[in-house]
Amino acid sequence: MADLSDIVARVKDALGSSARGDLAEIDANGAPLHALSANDRAELATQFGHELKSVAGDYLGICRADEAAARIAALAAETGVRTAAIGEGVAIDTGAIATALETEGISVLRTAPGVDADNRTQTLRRVADADMGIAEADCAIASTGTLAVVSTVSRPSSLTLLPPSSVILVNVDRLVRDIAAAVATLGANEIANHRVTLITGPSRTADIEKRIVLGVHGPKSLHVLIVWPRDE
């Protein structure tokens, strides 16, 4: 059986004496990040919304932090949601959203930290059985309408995967221009240490005659709300 040294030896052999000095260091870094003005952010939000719609996502627009709970509760009620699963927020207080949902008579599953191995399967099933999963994204990409979700103990990424309807909130400060900026914003450390998913629209396939169908394994619908902090 081969081990690391075997493989490395084979590869070294294969590369032979080809001079490595010649290998140009590729500087693939994107444009440097700079602070965005409120105007820039509004512009990015518009672009984000446009791109999200082009990948069949539902753009809910921008709202103030204190309006988010009501907006989502209304959406849940409108779409006939009976159970919703919700994780902890990043910058947004999702507790308020849970309360608002409960007020609407929707039963809420809070993915509490510290799932133990025994009830993991059960918890996954309960998340899968929920009609709606609600989560906050760590970052949103304007040029592609993409959301970056970092999976943590209190914010498992199955919230954005298992329920048929996915609601994702993102703080307007977390909007970036393109994929390179998103990767830079999240940073090598965060990415080395967490499972991260970039989500661009609802789950889709083109496997039957290259015709696009939504909702294969992941959510059939994706609703995104951009939250603007109250003081601006």
């Binding site: 590729i26 789950s203 005659e209």
Partner: protein, 481 residues
């Protein structure tokens, strides 16, 4: 494998494909739809040409110091509590995974789309070990139900119409027949959802492995790759050694070109960054994560200065979509998990001598090279492989008529060194066949030209007898000369 496939099988298989007009119609309309999608996103954000050049440069650099990158990646993955296994051959990789599945008592395996698992013929081996294997990519699921291999690296069921799939579901699931993609997809969703929730072992391929961060990137649209790497307790990622890229900041370039060329999107729906097993208390991710890094002929490709380039491939499938040979014979004719132009250059190294003819089965039209997002010079590699095959100690045995054609060409090439002799022979040939020509064309020729006149007429040779100058216009209506 029970019966080892023979290289000559390609002839029968491609003949069947070439005669299947229905298949050609399906492939043509699918590629047309694909090209429409691609045209919509081609020049979104950074101009596409710049992206192609950057992506290629990164790959070139990465391959040039692949040994260092593999060490770096392995260290990082090990730090993240992944178990990294190196497989020199397909057998080693397959045996490792089957043994692992058996040891952890796996009963239900779910798989994301992975051509590399096809390369190592993993499914039959797992099944022989009594383990259920379920392909979960919709296209893969469909072809698995039919007991077929995929026929395209991005769109596995591209050879089937929605009606074919409707009938398949009707037959297998006893549901009422429908050709509607939405309803068929919904049916598959319901069935596969339950399988995901009970799966105990997940397997996917890897699109990119980032050495800097020890991250495996799996790109997909359906969510099945996410499911397979999130739900089962044990997860295996299988990757070729060439998938490593140096830095996190290299990744966006590949994500952009891959999505655009593979499916005509700006970004695929899900880009999964996997780093290791879940932490204590986490809901998502496996308890155990294994990374199998396979050579299986890749280091040999790396050592060949012409072939090396083929390791830059990001498996976008664009070359298949534009290839007229692929579109006329279909993916199954190649009898390799890697069909089409890319398949013709990598299969002899990754699959073996049963694919020895693939490099010859090309007109060298170059449509693949034009479209390839990393500018792989596929025609040049095909030529290189033809030469390697021809000069190998055991060249593939050609069917009789093809052999005769090749021998004839070789003879011609030797005689053509003596222009006087070859011109003289040309004149004799012209005199001999003249009686058989009609309007300048001959309907039936003896070997080695018999294969020519199987499908079209042969031009009557007429060396030294040009049509009178300036007659091009006048002669339209009255025969060829």
């Amino acid at each position: 494998m029970a019966v080892s496939p023979k290289a000559t099988d390609f002839f029968a298989a491609s003949e069947a494909g070439a005669a299947d007009h229905e298949l050609q119609r399906k492939l043509e309309s699918a590629s047309a739809r694909h090209l429409e999608h691609f045209a919509e996103v081609r020049d979104e954000f950074t101009p596409y040409e710049n992206e192609r050049a950057t992506a290629r440069a990164i790959k070139e650099n990465a391959l040039g110091r692949l040994d260092e990158l593999i060490v770096e990646l392995t260290e990082k993955l090990t730090d993240h509590d992944c178990k990294v296994f190196f497989a020199a051959s397909a057998d080693e990789a397959r045996e490792y995974i089957v043994k692992l599945a058996t040891q952890c008592g796996a009963r239900h395996v779910v798989k994301g789309k992975s051509m590399t698992t096809e390369e190592i013929a993993l499914n039959p081996a797992l099944e022989r070990a009594g383990i259920e294997v379920l392909e979960t990519d919709l296209g893969e699921y469909i072809v698995q139900l039919r007991g077929e291999p995929p026929s395209h690296i991005i769109t596995p069921a591209i050879h089937l119409s929605k009606e074919d799939i409707g009938e398949l579901f009707h037959e297998k699931f006893r549901v009422s027949y429908t050709p509607e993609p939405e309803k068929l997809t919904a049916e598959a969703r319901t069935r596969l959802r339950e399988s995901f929730l009970r799966a105990d072992f997940g397997i996917t391929g890897v699109n990119f492995a980032i050495a800097e961060t020890g991250t495996l990137v799996v790109v997909e649209n359906e969510g099945n790759g996410r499911m397979s790497s999130t739900i089962p307790e044990v997860f295996v990622a299988l990757m070729g050694i060439e998938k490593v890229i140096p830095k996190l900041s290299d990744l966006p370039h590949f994500l952009e070109i891959l999505a655009r060329t593979a499916t005509g999107q700006k970004l695929t729906t899900y880009t999964n960054f996997l780093r290791g097993p879940r932490a204590d208390g986490d809901l998502d991710g496996p308890r155990e994560m294994h990374v199998v890094i396979i050579d299986n002929g890749r280091s040999a490709m790396l050592s060949d200065p012409v072939l090396r380039e083929s390791l830059m491939c990001i498996r976008c499938g664009a070359c298949l979509n534009v290839c007229p040979v692929y579109r006329h014979i279909g993916g199954h004719a190649y009898r390799s998990p890697y069909p089409g132009p890319i398949g013709s250059i990598v299969s002899p190294s990754l699959i073996g001598s049963s694919t020895a003819y693939l490099p010859f089965a090309s007109t060298l039209c170059g449509a693949c090279k034009d479209v390839c997002p990393v500018h792989i010079d596929i025609p040049r590699i095909l030529l290189h492989l033809r030469w390697k095959e021809t000069s190998s100690p055991a060249p593939p045995p050609w069917p009789h008529d093809a052999h005769r054609a090749r021998a004839g060409a070789r003879m011609f090439a030797r005689l053509a060194r003596y222009p006087r002799i070859i011109r003289f022979l040309g004149h004799i040939a012209a005199v001999l066949v003249k009686p058989f020509a009609e309007n300048g064309w001959i309907g039936s020729m003896p070997p080695p030209f018999a294969n020519w006149t199987k499908v079209r007429d042969f031009p009557a040779p007429r060396p030294g007898h040009p049509r009178p100058a300036n007659s091009a216009g006048k002669s339209i209506r009255n025969g060829r000369s």
